[in-house]
Amino acid sequence: MFKKWKKIIKKAFVKPHNESQAIGRGESKETVSTDLDKNMRHLKAVFDRCTDIIFREFEAAIGGGVKIAMVYIDGLVNKEMLTEDLVKTLMYDVASLNSSASVSDPAGYLSRRIIAFTEVKLQDNLLDAVNSVLSGETVLFVDGVSKAFALSTQDWVQRAVTEPATENVVRGPREGFTENLQTNYTLIRRRIKSSRLKFETMKIGAITKTAVSIGYLEGIVNNKIVDEVRNRLQRIDIDGILESGYIEEYIEDAPMTVFPTVQATERPDKVAGGLLEGQVVILVDTTPFALLVPVTFPQLLQASEDYYLRWPFASFIRFIRFVTLNIALLAPPLYIAITTYHQEMLPTPLLISIAAAREGVPFPAFVEAMLMETTFEVLREAGVRLPKAVGQAVSIVGALVIGDAAVSAGLVSPAMVIIVALTAISSFSLPSYFGAFSLRILRFPLMALAAALGLFGVMAGLLALLIHLCSLRSFGVPYISPLAPTSWRDLKDMFFRMPWWSMFTRPRMTGSKEPARQDYMQKPRPPRRRPGGGSGK
C-alpha cells in the first residue's frame, strides 16, 4: 500500500552517499608531506574561515632551528600546558640535547625524546590530522618529517558532576553522568574496577563525528547481545548525533510502540548495576543520558534506590509503585466507566456524593475528564519548558484554574479534580520518567474506550495492551520477563526485592553466561557466643 510512496520519497530526498560527500567541506585524503609549508597551506585551505583555529609556527632549538607548526582549536585545548610543555621545551630546553647525532627515524625520535606528552599519535594522513584538530588535539608538524604529531591536549569547559536531574534518590550516590564521555567512563570505571569492563568506541554522524561507546562486562554479558548492539550502531547513517535519543530511535526493537525498549539513565550506579547483570551500556558523547539494553518493563518500575534501602522497605515501595502504576493508568478510565455505565458498582453513599458533586456540571464525565487531563498535561509541559523564575507563576495559575475556579464555576466536578490529582501524583511516583510517558499517553485511548464501552472497553484495552507488551522484545529479551516467560528465580527481584544475600543469581535472560552472582546463602547468622567474653549469663 505504501510501497509507491516509499519509492517516490526515496527518489526525491535520499541521495546515495559517496566518498567525497562523506568527507565533505574540502577535506581530502592527502598524506602529510615533508614540506611544512605545503602542509600548512593545505590545512589553512581546509580551515578557511574558521576563526577559532589557531596556527602557530616557530623554530625549535634543535637541528639548527627546525621549523615547527602547531594547529589547534582555541578553547578546546589546555593552552597553559601547551606553552609550558611544548613550546617552551622546544624553543629553550631542547637546546641542551646533543642534536648533532644523525637520526635515522626523526619522527620516532621526536615522539620518544623530545615531545613531552603522555599521549602522542603519529599520523600519516592529513585527514586524520584535521579530525584530530577537530576533536581537540593539538597537531604538530615538523619541517622535514612526513608525520603529524597529534597531542592529547583536550581541555574544555565542562559541567561538573552533579546530582542527576531525573532520577533522585534519598539514599545512594549523588553523582550523575555529564556531557563529557571521558568523565562518564571514569564514573563507571570507579565503580567497576575490573579489566573485564570493556568499552568499544566508534564515531557516528558524518558531520558531528560523535563518539559512541559500547560498554559491557566480558564474561557476564551475552556476546550475541553485544554483537547485535554493535551491528545496529554500525548501521546508523546520519549526519549528526546530538543526544542518545537519536541512537535510541535507531536501535530500538519496536519503533512504533509507546513503550521504551531502551532505558535511558543518568545514573552511573544504575549503569554499573546493569552491567553486573549482563546489560550493555551505550555512552554517547555530549549527553548525560546513557542507554541500557536490553531492558524489560519491570525494570522500568525499579529505581536504583530499591537496592540500597533495606529489603522490607524496598519491597514495600515496589508494592506502592505497582499500585500507583495502576492508578496512573486506570483511575480516569475507571471513573468514567463506572460513573457513566456501572453506577450499581459503587456504594450508595459514594454514588450519591459523586452525583451531588456532578450536579450542574454541563459536560459528560468523559469530556470533563479529557478537559482536566489535557489541562494537566499542558500545565506539566509548561512547567518543564518555562524558565525557573516563571515556573512559580504557572503552578499558581494551574492550582487556581484547575483546583478552584473551574470547580466553583461549575465547569468540572470536585470528584474529577481529585481523580486528576491522584493520577498526576501517581504518575510522578514512577521511577522512570520515560516509562511514565507511555502511561500518560495510554491513559487517553483507555479513557475513550471507557466512555464508549464502559468497563468492557477498559478491559478490552487492557487485554490489547497486555498482548502488545507480550509481543515486545528488547534485544531478544521478552519485554515482560521475568513474568512471561516466567522465571521463578528472577521473581525475587520483581514484586518484592528480596534480601541481597538471597539473590545469588543474575537475571536469567541477560546474565545466564555466569549465573552465580555470589556465594550461596550468606544470610548473616549471629555467632553462637557473643564476641567479647562468652560468660554473659
Binding site: 500500500m1 455505565y341 453506577q343 450508595t348 450519591i352 452525583a355 466512555a451 464501552l453
Partner: protein, 402 residues
C-alpha cells in the same frame, strides 16, 4: 499491511458503532433508596401501590447543599397500578430523571399487603435484575407508604436511618432480626420453615421537630419493633420484642441483649438485676417419644451482670449459683413465651422445626409434609437452658453508701 488496516478499522468500529450505548451520567439518575409496597382496593379492583424514596443528591453531600436545604433529602412518590411495574412506569411520568433501583436498600411491605400474601411481590423482586438479594425487607404496621412519610431524626434519608437502626443497633439488643431478600425468599421456598420480617412502626413520641415535609404528619418517628411472623406466604401476626428475644435464643441468633432477673436474697425486698447476654447458642433436636415427634431445644447462654438494683451481693459464689438458676429459668420462660406465640397462637413455624425434621428424618417428613401445619401446633416442645453468669463487670457487690 492491508490486513492490519482492516483489523484497525474493525476494532475502531467496535468502539464507535455502539456509540456510548446506554450511557447514563450520574446526575441524570434518580437513585431509589427505599420501596414501599401496599395493596389497595380501587373501584372494587385490587391494585398495587408503589411508593419510592428517591435520593436528592443536591441536598446530600457537599457544602453548598446544606446551606440551601429547603426541601427534604429524599423525594417520596407513590403511584397506583394494576401491577407494580405499571405503578413504576407511572412514577416515570413524574420523574425528570431515570429511576434506578439497583441502589435500593430496603423493601417495606405494608401490613395489608403482607396479610394478603407476598407471592406476587416476591415475583417482582426476584424477577427484576436490579434488585439485590441484600435488600433489607420489612413489614410496616399500617401502610408502607405512610411509614415512608416519616422524617429521619439523624440521617439525611429515611432509608439510611432505618437500615442503620437495623444493622447497627439491633444486634446490641437482640429484639428483632435483620432479614434480607435472600433469607426471606429462602424461608418462603423452604418447606417447613416460615419467614419472619422485622416490623416498622411509626410512633409519635414528641412534638414536631420543626423540620421539612410539613404536609406530612409532623413529629413522627420510626421504630423497629419485634417481628412479623408469616405462615406460608401470608402475614400471620406480630411478635412483641420481648418474645423475639426468646425466638432468637431458640434459633441461636442472639448476639447481645439484656435480661432482667428478679433475685430475692434473705428477707429483703427482691433486687432487679440486669444481665447482658454475651454469648448464646442453641441446639434443636427432634426426637420420637412413644412414637410421637417431640422437639428438644437446648440453649446455652452466658451473661454479665451490668446493673444491680437492690442489695444482692452478686460477688458471692453462692448468690451466683442462685442467679444462674434464675437466669436459666428466665431464659426458659422467655423462650417458651415465644414458642407459645408462634406455635400456638399464630401456628407459624418460624423456628424451622419442619426443616430440621426434614433433614433428620426425611422419610417421616414425606409422610407428614402435607399436614405439617396440623402437627406443628400440637407438637410438644421441651426447652432446657443452661445459663451462666460469667462476670459482674467492674465492681462485684452493689454500690453501697455507708
Amino acid at each position: 499491511m492491508k490486513k492490519k488496516v482492516i483489523a484497525f478499522i474493525l476494532v475502531l468500529s467496535v468502539s464507535l458503532c455502539p456509540g456510548c450505548w446506554s450511557r447514563r451520567e450520574v446526575e441524570d439518575l434518580a437513585i431509589v433508596t427505599a420501596i414501599g409496597i401496599d395493596r389497595m382496593i380501587l373501584d372494587g379492583k385490587e391494585k398495587s401501590k408503589l411508593s419510592v424514596l428517591v435520593a436528592r443528591p443536591s441536598q446530600l453531600g457537599g457544602q453548598q447543599a446544606k446551606a440551601t436545604a429547603e426541601t427534604n433529602a429524599d423525594w417520596l412518590v407513590s403511584e397506583v397500578g394494576d401491577t407494580l411495574y405499571e405503578a413504576m412506569r407511572k412514577i416515570y411520568r413524574r420523574s425528570p430523571r431515570n429511576l434506578r433501583i439497583y441502589h435500593n436498600e430496603m423493601v417495606i411491605i405494608g401490613e395489608d399487603s403482607a396479610r394478603a400474601g407476598v407471592q406476587d411481590i416476591l415475583d417482582y423482586l426476584q424477577r427484576h435484575k436490579d434488585i439485590r438479594l441484600r435488600t433489607w425487607m420489612f413489614v410496616s404496621r399500617g401502610d408502607a407508604g405512610d411509614a415512608m412519610k416519616v422524617l429521619p431524626e439523624f440521617e439525611n434519608m429515611l432509608s439510611e436511618e432505618i437500615s442503620e437502626i437495623l444493622v447497627k443497633s439491633t444486634p446490641a439488643i437482640s429484639d428483632t432480626l435483620a432479614v434480607d431478600l435472600r433469607r426471606f425468599s429462602d424461608a418462603l421456598v423452604t418447606p417447613g420453615w416460615d419467614a419472619v420480617l422485622p416490623v416498622i412502626r411509626t410512633i409519635n413520641p414528641r412534638e414536631a421537630t420543626g423540620r421539612k415535609r410539613e404536609e406530612k404528619e409532623a413529629g413522627q418517628t420510626i421504630v423497629l419493633e419485634g417481628l412479623a411472623l408469616f405462615r406460608k406466604n401470608r402475614l400471620a401476626g406480630f411478635m412483641a420484642p420481648e418474645e423475639v428475644t426468646g425466638f432468637l435464643y431458640i434459633i441461636g441468633e442472639t448476639q447481645r441483649g439484656a435480661i432482667t432477673l428478679e433475685h430475692k436474697s434473705g428477707n429483703g425486698s427482691p433486687s432487679q438485676i440486669a444481665v447482658l447476654i454475651s454469648q448464646a447458642s442453641s441446639e434443636i433436636k427432634p426426637v420420637f417419644k412413644e412414637g410421637r415427634l417431640e422437639m428438644e431445644i437446648k440453649i446455652d447462654a452466658e451473661g454479665d451482670v451490668v446493673e444491680v438494683q437492690g442489695d444482692t451481693a452478686v460477688g458471692s459464689p453462692d448468690v451466683i449459683k442462685e442467679m444462674n438458676r434464675e437466669f436459666s429459668q428466665k431464659v426458659k420462660s422467655i423462650a417458651e413465651k415465644s414458642l407459645e406465640t408462634a406455635q400456638k397462637k399464630f401456628k407459624s413455624d418460624v423456628f424451622g422445626f419442619g426443616k430440621i425434621v426434614h433433614q433428620k428424618y426425611p422419610d417421616y417428613w414425606r409422610e407428614v409434609e402435607q399436614d405439617w401445619y396440623e402437627i406443628y401446633p400440637e407438637m410438644p416442645v421441651t426447652v432446657k437452658v443452661d445459663a451462666k453468669i460469667r462476670r459482674t463487670s467492674i465492681i462485684a457487690d452493689p454500690f453501697q453508701i455507708r
